[in-house]
Amino acid sequence: MSDDRRLSEDLHESLRRRAAGFSPQPAAMDQVVRRARGIRRRRRTAAGLAAAAAVAVIAVPTGLTLGAGPQAGTPVAPAHSGSATPSMPHSTKPAPTSPPPSSPSTPSAPSSPSSPATQQTPKLLTLAGIARGGSVGIGWLEGSTWHGAQGGTQTLPAGPYFAVTPYRGGFLVVQPRSSADPPGVSTPHLSWLDNTMHPAWSTCGGPRLALSGDQMTAAYSKLSDCGPTATDTLHVGIANGMADSETLRDVPAGKLAEPVGLTGQMLIYNLRDLTAGTQQGAWYTDLSGQQPAKQIPGLAYASGVDTSRQQVAGQSANDPQTGMVVDPVTGKVIWSRQGYFPGQFTTDGKYVAAAYGGGQGPPTQYAILDAATGRRLTYFDLGAQGMSVVATAWNPDDSLLIVTHQGDREAILRLTPGGQVTRVSDVLPADAAHAVVLAIRP
C-alpha cells in the first residue's frame, strides 16, 4: 500500500472516530420550521430593501427588525440573486431579543430556537413513517408464507426459519433444532421440502446456504446425524434439476463447513469447530472436489463472494475489525477498511453491502460500497433511529433490502446506491408468525 493511500485511510479512520465521539442533539421538526420562517422573513426583508434601493425612492431604515417583513400568506417575494446562504444587509441589524438563528455566540438565549430550554425531543423515524417505494424483487418468507419473486404465495410448514432458497421444485430450509434432536452438535436443522412441502430429507447441518451467480447451483453442508460423532460433508446440487445433490467433499472430523458463495470454478466456505463454534478460517475448493481444499490467506472468515471478479469479502485475520476484499487464491488484498464488515456483493459485482459503526458494540449503520475500491457510496444510520438490522440481501435492481426491527415491529427497507430509503413491505409485528426471512442470493 502506498504512503498516500495509507495516510488517506488513516485520515478517514481518524475522522470517523472523531465524528463518533460527538453527541450533537438533532433538531425537531418544529424547530426547523420556525427557523425556516425566520429565514423567509429575512429574505423578504432583504428583497424589499433591494427593490427600494434600486428605485431610490425611500431611505433604508436603520432600525428594521426581523419581524418587519410582509405578513404570512402574502405572495412570495421574487427570488433575489446571490448564493444559497443570503445574509442580512448590514443595515438590518436584529433587535437584541431576536438573535440571528444561526449565531453560535448566543447558544443559551431563551429565544434561540436551538436553546436547550426549548429543545424538544426529536422524533425518531418510524418504520410506518418511511414511505412505500420500490418492491422486493426476490422471494421472501413471512412466517411460513412464501412470497415469490414473481408474485404468488405458498405455505410452508410452520417455522421458524433461519434461511430458505427455492430448490428442486421445493425449498432448502434451515430451521432451529427441535427437541427431538439428540444432544450432540449445536448446528441447526437442514431440510429439503419437496414440491408437496414435505421434508424429503432432514438432518442437522450448516446454517448457511450458497447459490451460484446464475442461481442454478446450490451448496450446503449436511451432517451425518445430530449426535456427538456426526461428520460433515459439503454438497453441491443443481437447484432446478431433478437429480439429488453430489457430495463435493468430506469435511475434517470435528469441523463444520459453512458455504459462503460459488464462483464458476470454486466454492468458498468457512470452517468452524463443530462443538466449540470457533472460526477456523476461510477456505476454497474446486467444484470437482478433486483438488485439496486451500485456506484463503489473511482472512479470518469470508462473508461474501463477488462472482463476477471471483473475489471474496471478509474480515482480516490480523484485525477482526478490518473488512477487506481479497483474491482467494493469492490472498492479495484488493482493498481494506477498518471498522467495516463487508458482506454480500451484487450479482454484477458493482456494489458490496457493509455494516459499520457502533464502536466496540454491534454495527449500527449499513453502507453500500463500491466493490472495486471500497469507497462508501451511501449509508443509512439505523442505530440513530432505534432500528436494528436482522438481515440483508440485494434486490435484482442493485438496491439493498434490509430487514429491520424497531421495537416490536419489523419491515423490509430498501436502500439505493443513490441514498434513497423506502419501505417495500408492510410494517409487521416482530413475532414468529410474521418473521421475515429473505431468500438466499448469490
Partner: protein, 201 residues
C-alpha cells in the same frame, strides 16, 4: 419518502414557497420532508461536527441547513440527489458562517466554547490527525472532510464546494503533504497507523 414534485434541483434556496401551498399538500410535503430529515439528520450532524469542531455550532449549522432544505423542498425534483443538495447547502452555510464578521472575531479567542466529548478510542495517531485537520482553514478543512470522511470523489467534492476539481486536488494534496510532515516529525504518535497490520502481510 414519497415522490417529490417540483422543478429541477439546483443550489439556490432563495425562493420560499411553502405558505402558498394548499393545506393538504403542505401536510404531505411536511411529512415527506420530515421523514427524510429524520433519516439523514444524524449524518449531517456528524459531518457538521467535523467541519466546525464542536457540537453546538454543528447543531446550529445543521438546523439552518435543514430549514433551507425545508424551504426548497418543493423544488427538489430529483430524489436521488437530495443528500448531495443538503451537503452542498451545509458546506455553503459553513463557509459563509466563517465569512461573517462576528465569526471572524470569534476566531481570535483561544478556547472553543465547547468541545466534543472525548472518545475512548481516540488517541495517538488519530488525535494527531484530527488536531491537524482542526488547524486547517475552513475551505481546506471542508475539502478534507468531504474527501476523506464523506468519501466523495474529487468531482463530487468540487461540486459540493462550488470550486474546480483542480482546486480540490491541490487543496487535498497540500493538506496531505503537511500531514505527512507532521506525522514524520512526531514518530511518537504512531507511524504504523490504523492500516499497518495489513501492510505487514
Amino acid at each position: 419518502m414519497g415522490a417529490i414534485i417540483g422543478v429541477q434541483m439546483d443550489a439556490d434556496t432563495s425562493a420560499a414557497v411553502p405558505d402558498t401551498a394548499p393545506e393538504s399538500g403542505r401536510r404531505g410535503r411536511d411529512a415527506d420532508f420530515e421523514a427524510w430529515m429524520t433519516a439523514r439528520q444524524s449524518a449531517l450532524l456528524r459531518t457538521a461536527c467535523l467541519l466546525t469542531g464542536e457540537t453546538h455550532t454543528a447543531e446550529d449549522l445543521v438546523q439552518t441547513t435543514l430549514a433551507k432544505m425545508y424551504l426548497a423542498w418543493d423544488r427538489i425534483a430529483d430524489r436521488e440527489h437530495v443528500d448531495a443538495y443538503a451537503r452542498k447547502t451545509l458546506v455553503n452555510e459553513f463557509r459563509s458562517m466563517w465569512r461573517r464578521p462576528w465569526r471572524r472575531r470569534e476566531l481570535t479567542t483561544e478556547v472553543l466554547p465547547e468541545q466534543g466529548a472525548p472518545d475512548v478510542e481516540y488517541d495517538g495517531l488519530s488525535r494527531a490527525l484530527w488536531d491537524f485537520v482542526a488547524t486547517l482553514p475552513p475551505k481546506q478543512r471542508a475539502v478534507i472532510v468531504l474527501r476523506y470522511y464523506e468519501e466523495l470523489t474529487e468531482a463530487e467534492t468540487a461540486a459540493a464546494l462550488g470550486i474546480s476539481v483542480g482546486t480540490v486536488k491541490s487543496q487535498a494534496s497540500r493538506a496531505l503533504a503537511s500531514l505527512r510532515r507532521t506525522v514524520d516529525d512526531h514518530p511518537e504518535i504512531g507511524r504504523q497507523g490504523f492500516s499497518g497490520q495489513e501492510e505487514e502481510r
